[in-house]
Amino acid sequence: MHAVIPYVTAALLFGLGVYGVLRRRNAILVLMAVELMLNAVNLILVTAGTLSGGVFALFVIVLAAAEVGVGLAIILQYYRMRAAVHVDEVVLHHEPEAG
């Protein structure tokens, strides 16, 4: 009993997500790519697991919802401050306050 199709689909989805995270500059699209990866994992959990796999999948869905909520809020705030959502332009080189 080999469920080849769900595994292959999950692998493709995950690869798609990785590609999106690595290549996309738009923060919202990066978030969407992360969702893709999570869903790929969900698919594997549901396919491979018995009852516990489904429970894990539910957990992941809840966490993903929360993560998207927080992530979108941060992006929105950042957009209001800088009018931009490009992740590679976020300045990280502020010197720490002297003290």
Partner: protein, 633 residues
């Protein structure tokens, strides 16, 4: 019963009065405040005197009171007091001088803004000395000893307007402290060797180690201004004149001699310690006397004469005659207090300390003049004044010791005897010089720029142009002190007094001719020099030695060169080591950690794409590794 109660009160009353006086606000010219301060001070000294007199009358046997205080391990420390008859006479001298100094100071410092703490500190000083006199426990004695050190520091530095006063106070404190280190070690040694700190137990414990006694002698040399720790005493003249009287006559310098007197049975068993004491005494005696010959400051002459006279006392102790030492201590207390208080009157009137600016004061100040004659006569040892009898006792004791049957080696007797005889002539010389320079000759005009030096009464100068005898509160202590200075020596004929001090009967033999001849020689040569060239300092005859004597044989410079500077250099080195090595190591650890942290933080700071690549690469590597391992195992 009375004695048991009164004995702790003897040092207790002045100490309590002093502590109460310190609570008073410093009297900034308000009469009421000054009056309460003066009242506390005089009451403390007067009560101490009263208690001493009552004890002298009531008590026949030595009093001993002992309370248990604390234990150091199995060493008990007691709150013990013991007053023998000899100690009572010392206490009498202390309280009489303290009382006169307190009364005298009321007038002498009548414009001083800090009179209240001054009077309180005198009370503390007196109480501490009485504690030393009355203590039967070395730890208790040490307490009094150290309180005296602190009080001398405070009182010498009393006049803050004088540039040299703070330095002199610090010097007095530090120099005596150097000796006190030895003293503390010495009494710790004696106490542990005897298993008790009670003096009676320690004396009963025979065979004290000579090293411990030498350590005690170091403390004695510091407090009693013995060579080589005598350098603080002449500088201590920066203090007010009554304080000099107190320090020189009754308290500070007498304490060291008194301690050796108390512990004398131990010293008698150790010829080595006595030899050191004798050499120290002879050097101090001659050094003090010679330095006194060339001083121009009247108080410094007296200060160096104290150094020399204390040399007589320690010399008497060294040749095994504590009674002669104590007798000289008592007569010295009388005439030196008289001399200093009278010198205060002279300074008060002349507005300067320098003898080169005095002269012709005999006519306007007859009372002071005659007091000075009595005091200087007693100092030089003119019969029948006090100093003659006590000095004769010392000389006889030294002459006996040359036979070598005493506790000290014979050569120590010779050294002390020769030094003491030479001292007689030199003392007569400088005493005559002081008298002639100050009171005879022509009065010299005074001008404003003359009020320099150690003149702690310079604010008197401008208002009272004519020198005159001091007012009553200053005159009466001087006049009353002239009585014991003249007559105390005759007390040697009283059997009760002799028994108290265990003194030999004075015997006027041929032996007293030699000191008398030397006395006449010294005084006569000084007079002849002055007579040959009136108005010229007889010290000019010293020629090239004069600056050397005036500088006290340059021992200050020597100490500066060989002690102070090396210690300073060492301290500088230690400080630099601390700053450059210890501190730098600690701070270097801190800064290098911070820098390392900054480097790591910079490495962690990456934009999201790079961070994500790093995460995925890491995950990939881990996955590959896991797969390979999973495949192989």
């Amino acid at each position: 019963m009375t004695a048991d109660v009164l004995t702790p009160l003897l040092p207790g009353v002045p100490l309590l009065m002093g502590l109460a006086g310190l609570l008073l606000p410093p009297g900034d010219g308000l009469r009421a405040r000054r009056r309460s301060a003066a009242l506390l001070g005089v009451t403390g000294a007067a009560l101490a005197l009263l208690i001493t007199v009552v004890l002298l009358v009531v008590v026949d046997e030595p009093v001993e009171v002992t309370y248990r205080w604390v234990s150091f391990g199995d060493l008990p420390v007691t709150l013990g007091f013991a007053l023998g008859p000899a100690a009572l006479y010392v206490a009498l001298a202390v309280s009489v001088v303290a009382l006169f100094v307190q009364i005298y100071s009321i007038e002498y410092l009548h414009r001083d803004r800090r009179y209240a703490p001054y009077a309180a500190q005198i009370s503390l000083f007196t109480g501490a000395m009485l504690l030393v006199v009355a203590a039967d426990d070395l730890i208790l004695l040490l307490v009094g000893w150290e309180v005296m050190g602190a009080c001398s520091y405070l009182l010498i530095g009393h006049d803050r307007r004088l540039p040299e006063a703070p330095a002199a106070a610090v010097k007095a404190f530090v120099v005596t402290r150097v000796g006190d280190v030895g003293f503390l070690l010495g009494i710790a040694w004696l106490g542990t060797a005897a298993g008790s700190f009670r003096i009676s137990d320690i004396i009963a414990h025979v065979g004290a180690p000579t090293t411990a006694l030498l350590l005690v002698l170091a403390g004695v040399a510091g407090k009693s201004a013995q060579f080589p720790l005598h350098t603080w005493l002449p500088d201590a003249m920066a203090g007010p004149t009554p304080i000099s009287a107190l320090i020189h006559a009754a308290t500070m310098v007498a304490a060291g001699v008194y301690v050796v007197f108390r512990l004398f049975p131990l010293f008698a068993g150790s010829p080595g310690a006595l030899a050191v004491l004798g050499v120290m005494a002879a050097v101090t005696l001659l050094l003090g006397a010679l330095s006194a010959t060339a001083q121009d400051d009247i108080k410094r002459v007296l200060a160096w004469s104290t150094v020399s006279q204390i040399g007589y006392m320690t010399g008497a102790l060294a040749v095994g005659s504590p009674a002669a030492a104590l007798f000289h201590l008592l007569t010295h207390a009388a005439f030196k207090a008289l001399l200093f208080l009278a010198a205060g009157a002279v300074i008060h009137a002349a507005g300067t300390n320098l003898m080169s600016r005095m002269g012709g004061l005999r006519k306007p100040m007859p009372v002071t003049f005659w007091s000075f004659v009595v005091g200087l006569g007693a100092l030089a040892g003119v019969p029948p004044l006090a100093g003659f009898w006590s000095k004769e006792n010392v000389l006889v004791a030294a002459a006996h010791a040359t036979e070598g049957d005493g506790p000290a080696p014979a050569w120590v007797g010779w050294v002390v005897w020769v030094a003491a005889l030479a001292g007689v002539a030199i003392t007569a010389w400088y005493a005559t010089r002081l008298l002639l320079r100050t009171f005879f000759g022509f009065p010299r005009a005074r001008a404003e720029q003359w009020s320099v030096g150690f003149d702690d009464a310079s604010y008197e100068v401008y208002e009272e142009p004519e020198p005159h005898d001091p007012p009553g509160l200053m005159r009466w202590p001087v006049v009353l002190l002239a009585v014991p200075a003249a007559l105390l020596g005759l007390a040697a004929f009283l059997p009760a007094f002799r028994a108290a001090l265990e003194l030999d009967e004075p015997h006027l033999e041929v032996a007293i001719v030699l000191p008398l001849v030397l006395l006449v020689l010294g005084a006569g040569s000084s007079w002849w020099l002055w007579r040959a060239a009136p108005g010229v300092d007889p010290a000019k005859a010293l020629g090239r030695l004069r600056p050397l004597f005036a500088a006290g044989f340059r021992l200050d410079d020597l100490q500066d060169r060989f002690l102070v500077r090396p210690v300073r250099a060492l301290a500088q080195g230690v400080r630099l080591t601390d700053e450059r090595v210890v501190d730098a190591a600690v701070e270097g650890t801190g800064t290098s950690t911070t820098r390392l942290g900054a480097v790591l933080a910079a490495a962690h700071r990456a934009a999201l794409p790079r961070a994500a690549v790093a995460v995925f690469t890491g995950a990939l590597v881990l996955g590959v590794v896991a797969a390979i391992y999973g495949a192989t195992s």
